[in-house]
């Protein structure tokens, strides 16, 4: 009788420990699922496939940026320039997508290269000049916006070859193209971060830059590569945005950098470096997307949505701090 209760107690403790580990790992997913359940009860329209695809389409651009931002934050950095770079890339890509000029791929690759170049510059300044990422990318944010305005003369660049619309507006097997792009970027980023030497070094540099040096890691090179990769993805996001708006808008993308940082942060990427996953960031982006969409469906005013979003971001970080204690 007595021994049974001890066994029971032990099982109970084991269960608690397992629950604890599970909660630590998947707390954010759980929150997401709870949100989905509540929203689907409150609004029957929420779970309709059309609406769900809509959510994914809406988050796709921010989520693609957030993938790269995840790498940067894991190294202990930050990128404030994404929104402006998106605009710069959008006008460049748009200008390369006029009908009967170049093949469409030029616009896509060209846009991505412009993005990668901005990232490479930021990364070089951060590492070689030892300037805090906040400042280096703040500078890039302002410069890229100015460059977008100069390049486009301050006006939207329109008149695309029709196939350019396909990037953001098309469907493959009934599923919007941006979802395929997001899926591809997610898989590639996950593999890079978890299954390559490069990825391990990213975590190591953010986890302890001194120890990374002693371990023979060339941090300068790795960090520049991280910013370049993030820039490349921001470039892709810029192409997607130009396609969605059917115009290269030099004033577009304002605030995207903060949305991307928010997605990563809600997803558990730690700003002290060394912690974070692509999976977490995707869930973070989905939480923002579902929240926007659900609150819209429930007719919550856009003003209140802002407050709710802000509270959730800070709440996520508080929770993260608690569980890591």
């Amino acid at each position: 009788m007595k021994s049974e209760s001890i066994v029971e107690k032990k099982n109970n403790e084991q269960f608690k420990a397992m629950l604890n580990i599970f909660m630590k790992k998947y707390a954010i997913l759980l929150i997401f699922i709870v949100m989905v359940i509540i929203l689907s009860i409150l609004s029957p329209a929420f779970l309709r496939p059309r609406n769900i695809m809509n959510v994914f389409r809406q988050i796709s651009i921010i989520a693609v940026i957030a993938m790269g931002v995840t790498f940067i934050i894991i190294t202990g950095g930050i990128d404030l320039s994404s929104g402006s770079v998106v605009a710069l890339v959008a006008v460049v890509a748009a200008s390369l997508a006029h009908p009967n000029q170049f093949p469409l791929i030029f616009a896509i690759i060209g846009g991505m290269l412009v993005g990668a170049l901005t990232g490479c510059i930021s990364g070089t300044i951060v590492t070689k000049q030892k300037i805090p990422a906040f400042i280096a990318t703040l500078g890039m944010m302002i410069v890229a916006r100015g460059a977008a305005l100069i390049y486009s003369d301050g006006r939207p660049i329109t008149n695309f070859t029709p196939s350019f619309d396909f990037i953001s507006g098309g469907y493959i097997f009934g599923i919007p193209t941006p979802i395929y792009i997001l899926a591809l970027v997610t898989v590639v980023s996950h593999i890079l971060l978890k299954h390559t030497k490069f990825g391990k070094y990213v975590y190591a540099i953010g986890g302890n830059s001194n120890a990374a040096l002693v371990s023979g890691i060339n941090s300068t090179r790795v960090v520049i590569m991280v910013y370049t990769y993030a820039g490349l993805l921001t470039g892709l996001a810029g192409v997607m945005l130009a396609s969605r708006l059917s115009a290269g808008q030099p004033t577009a993308g304002v605030g995207y950098e903060l949305d991307a940082i928010a997605a990563a942060t809600i997803g558990g990427v730690s700003h002290s470096g060394g912690i974070g996953t692509i999976f977490g960031t995707i869930v973070g982006a989905l939480i923002i997307g579902v929240l926007n969409n659900g609150l819209d469906l429930l007719n919550v005013s856009a003003y209140w949505q802002q407050i709710i979003k802000g509270v959730i971001i800070v709440g996520a970080v508080i929770m993260d701090k608690r569980k890591n204690r």
Binding site: H195, T196, K200, G207, N208, L213, V214, I275
Partner: protein
């Protein structure tokens, strides 16, 4: 009963996780005297002082009497309020504030009870203070513009400005020149005349004998004795400091000593060390002894490519090498187990496996992609070989004990298959069991033909493990002793300079 003592500490113990730092020690300081504390690194001097000024709580059972009354000190503010201040060994100035702002930090003069700071009054009081100490500095100078010596003098002025009755000085002369030491001693004598008592911690023998009235000696967290300075001379003092029986057993094994693997010639780095030459052979354990701050760590960091040498040459297998980054050093089959596990060793947010693998990633990758099976099995094997106690390889290293963390770091370096292994304080802060395991491992590595350089501030460890001991003092090599000639007294003499 009015006591002749201003401070009486008795039965003070302090236990840190896994280590007994102080065992029922005592310290009695007479009013208006300079009382020196002596002992090797880790003897317990600093811990005792940190208890006195409220940084660490003592274990229960001890008693502190200040001016004859029992006191409990929970914080530095408590201590300051009672009249106890301390000049720390590591200076902590606020660089972009003025001298007077630094001195009055946290107790700024204000206009009445308002929150407007009265700079004029602070500057004036600082000027008086500096004049009184004959320090010719402008109170409005920024701390960042002062030399280290002057920064030190300002710290001293700050400690005095509290009008404390007991001032603790922890290595106050480590950064100042002969002339300033004289000046400091003059200040100390002035304070004594006013009835202020000083607790003086220093490793410099000549200073100790010049300035002290009484000397208390600690060893391995134990109280050895208190003597009047006239009762002691250097030899007696050293033997009290190191006079333990070498009862600890070291698993020293006979290893075949071969050719020179690494040779350093005239290494210098301005401000840290100069003219460092030594060599280490296959199968040899070369000990590096010295006091904290002697420059041993800095030498190894430069050899490993973490910091730049100003001068000097390094030879490996007789060939001159150019090491500009740790990756070059690793390429030359060197490994460096650093002194500070947290600061330069562990990747705290990462798993045990990744912590082991990180310095040898090329082994587990093909064109950049990790072979999960290889990394898992090899790291698990390494972890088992070193007897790392961890529930799984996925466990985060921050959840491991200090000893196990250290074993993980050793495993990391063994994965790089080094020929020259530099270990800096390899057993600091880890439990006895893990310590013995690391000692055994180092001996095995030497036996397997590796060259081991071991920095250690623990004399028994250095003597018990090394084939030869190089002793450093103040950035220079002061001597080299062979294993059979090395005694604690001999090494300590060289370490003190």
């Amino acid at each position: 009963m009015t006591s002749e003592f201003i401070l009486e500490m008795s039965q003070i113990s302090k236990t840190f996780p896994g280590v007994k730092a102080l065992q029922e020690v005592q310290l009695n300081v007479r009013k208006g005297t300079v009382h020196s504390l002596m002992g090797e690194n880790g003897a317990g001097k600093s811990t005792l002082m940190k208890i006195l000024i409220g940084i660490h709580p003592a274990d229960s059972g001890g008693q502190i009497l200040f001016k004859g009354n029992p006191v409990t000190i929970h914080s530095t503010n408590d201590a300051l309020g009672m009249g106890i201040s301390m000049i720390h060994q590591e200076l902590s100035p606020v660089p972009f504030m003025t001298i007077s702002e630094n001195i009055f930090l946290g107790r700024e003069s204000t206009y009445g009870k308002s929150f407007w700071v009265n700079d004029k009054e602070m500057n004036q009081r600082t000027e008086e203070l500096l004049n009184q100490l004959e320090i010719s500095l402008d109170p409005k100078m920024l701390m960042k513009d002062l030399s280290i010596a002057n920064t030190q003098m300002v710290e001293i002025a700050k400690a005095i400005s509290y009008n404390s009755e007991l001032i603790i000085m922890d290595e106050p002369t480590s950064a100042i020149t002969e002339k300033e030491v004289k000046h400091l001693f003059k200040i100390i004598r002035g304070l004594k005349d006013k009835g202020v008592s000083i607790i003086y911690i220093s490793h410099k023998m000549d200073e100790i004998f010049k300035i002290s009235d009484d000397i208390t000696i600690f060893r391995d967290g134990q109280y050895i004795g208190t003597k009047h300075v006239d009762e002691l001379d250097t030899n007696k003092l050293i033997s009290m400091m190191v006079g333990r029986e070498l009862k600890e057993m070291f698993p020293k094994e006979h290893a075949e000593i071969g050719d020179i693997l690494l040779e350093a010639k005239n290494l210098s780095r301005k401000g840290f060390f100069s003219n460092i030459s030594f060599n280490v052979r296959k199968g040899e354990i070369l000990g590096f002894a010295g006091l904290m701050g002697a420059g041993r760590t800095e030498v190894m960091e430069s050899i490993f490519g973490i910091t730049k040498l100003d001068e000097g040459e390094i030879f490996i297998h007789g060939n001159k090498v150019n090491i500009r980054h740790p990756k070059d050093a690793i390429g030359h089959k060197m490994a460096l187990l650093t002194e500070d596990r947290k600061l330069t060793g562990c990747f705290l947010p990462l798993s045990v496996r990744d912590n082991i693998a990180i310095a040898s990633m090329d082994k587990y990758t093909t064109s950049g992609f990790i072979n999960p099976k290889k990394i898992n099995t090899e790291c698990a094997e390494a972890s088992i070989k070193l007897n790392v106690k961890t529930p799984s390889m996925e466990q985060l290293i921050k959840n491991l004990s200090g000893g196990n963390q250290q074993k993980v770091l050793v495993a990391r370096w063994l994965q790089t298959d080094p020929e020259i292994l530099i270990v800096d304080e390899p057993t600091r802060g880890i439990d006895v069991g893990a310590k013995a395991e690391i000692h055994r491992l180092l001996c095995q590595l030497a036996k397997a033909g590796k060259a081991v350089i071991m920095i250690s501030s623990e004399l028994p460890e250095v003597l018990g493990m090394s084939d030869r001991v190089v002793v450093m003092h103040n950035g220079k090599i002061t001597g080299e002793v062979k294993r059979d000639e090395a005694t604690q007294e001999r090494v300590m003499e060289l370490a003190i300079g």
